[in-house]
Symmetry: C2
Subunit: 314 residues, 2 copies
Amino acid sequence: MTFQRVAIIGLGLQGGSIGLAVQAYLPDVVTTGYDRDAITRTRAAERRLVHKVCDTAAEAVADCDLVIFCVPLGAMGIAAEQVRAALPADALVSDVGSSKQVVAKALGEALPDHVIIPAHPVAGTENSGADAGFAELFRNRWCIVTPPPQTNLVKLSQLVAFWEALGANVEIMDADHHDLVLAVTSHLPHLIAYTIVGTASDLEEVTQSEVIKYSAGGFRDFTRIAASDPTMWRDVFLSNRQAVLTMLQRFTEDLTALQRAIRIGDGETLFNHFARTRATRRSIIEEGQDDARPDFGRADHRADHRTDPKPADS
Amino acid sequence: MTFQRVAIIGLGLQGGSIGLAVQAYLPDVVTTGYDRDAITRTRAAERRLVHKVCDTAAEAVADCDLVIFCVPLGAMGIAAEQVRAALPADALVSDVGSSKQVVAKALGEALPDHVIIPAHPVAGTENSGADAGFAELFRNRWCIVTPPPQTNLVKLSQLVAFWEALGANVEIMDADHHDLVLAVTSHLPHLIAYTIVGTASDLEEVTQSEVIKYSAGGFRDFTRIAASDPTMWRDVFLSNRQAVLTMLQRFTEDLTALQRAIRIGDGETLFNHFARTRATRRSIIEEGQDDARPDFGRADHRADHRTDPKPADS
């Protein structure tokens, strides 16, 4: 590991998890951190998310050889400008934003003389803030690195090694392709989840209490990602607008086709559609990207003990 | 408990779980069962889902005082006709179907001389078949009972006591209101999940392998319920058509409004929408209808041990 001093700007779920993961897996690396919110800084210090929580962004980056911006997409440019004067000339600049073309542009404009290699760890939970991070967040998750053309290959390999040390699998991708892939695997699902939870809140015929009580029928699965940080997600949709709108158009076409099948009572179309989606989940579990236990393991957690009778065949 | 002999027709996730739950929580009650699929019958006997797996539905119900139909909605009428000749005159007839108006009609036509009280335990996992059931499925879940007008109150209270014995909380509701409530808390979420998983499978610009790899960004949450039994869900949408189409219309309106906000760059509308959906999840967790652990507890399961440094304040 060639990075000796890592500065983390933004100490929420991602920044805090990076700080904890570096301490856990790269114990020789010194970490500094900054968050523009004073309460977050205090809590970050209490939780020891980084070795040193600084009072300014400039102080946090003063001696670093890697700075990672872990702020909402809309704040990347401002955060980068705040460190410009203090950032060592040979420090590598990276981030964890969920949309990569816009980040490359914002960081490039603010820090035109630095090497910038954007990255996106595809890992998270619905929680946010200084209490949300944990060291294992990136283990067996993918981190997509989107180097611009003619990127310094030494710096690139150092960044790859850094993420691998934190437990991630690294993939290199063009920023525009990243934005299309994430539009379908992350941005569209969040938009849909936010929508349906809102729809359920606005009904007049069904009370909110009923929606809550009977949420185990499927609705509750959507509420998890609809509990994600609103600022972060506002910025994602504004930043990756075109790809999200493209995917949304496909989704709407497919939904309209199923709606028509329901309206005309076309059971065969419904069955055929529903039968082919099982394979996708099987693949996700085989690839280690989700829990194989039914109901995300919630049933295991709820049951204090299993009371099945002893099977006859074992 | 006044039921002494319970017959279960259909030994998949619901029927198998009822059989196991009765054995666990009502050990004096004798259970019989039947499934039209011979392999399911064999597996049900191996797992001892009920005390006796019968070769015909008529044999299973011959001496029962409660029969519960646990078959797809489209098969309720046929299953009921198959037991008509053998079913004792005073046996109570119930079911576990996800749509209640259509069940009341189908069972009423097939068994016009019996007392019929439909019910719907709002509990399940994405798994189906004889291997899917477990005794704790109904614990702290709601079971909605939809008695028709002028229902025999003694029978009704017996059915309520039965479900409470299995760990469920029981709610009494009109069948038409049930169908509206479930359209939003269960049927619409399943339709949306099936749609988005299908949309992601059909893309040309993004490979299936990429969809799988980066599914932790949110997509994987949808794949769980899109892995549910296709026959069951085809029948749900055909059975509860009107309520589903109504809810789908509301959802589409709301999605269109957010789509417009994205297109015109209206961050305030997006933020305000995203900020209000968190409260719904909080309520669901407070009501015990979902797991409070981040990421449905998947992160806990994945992490062999937590490696956080000792906090300074504790």
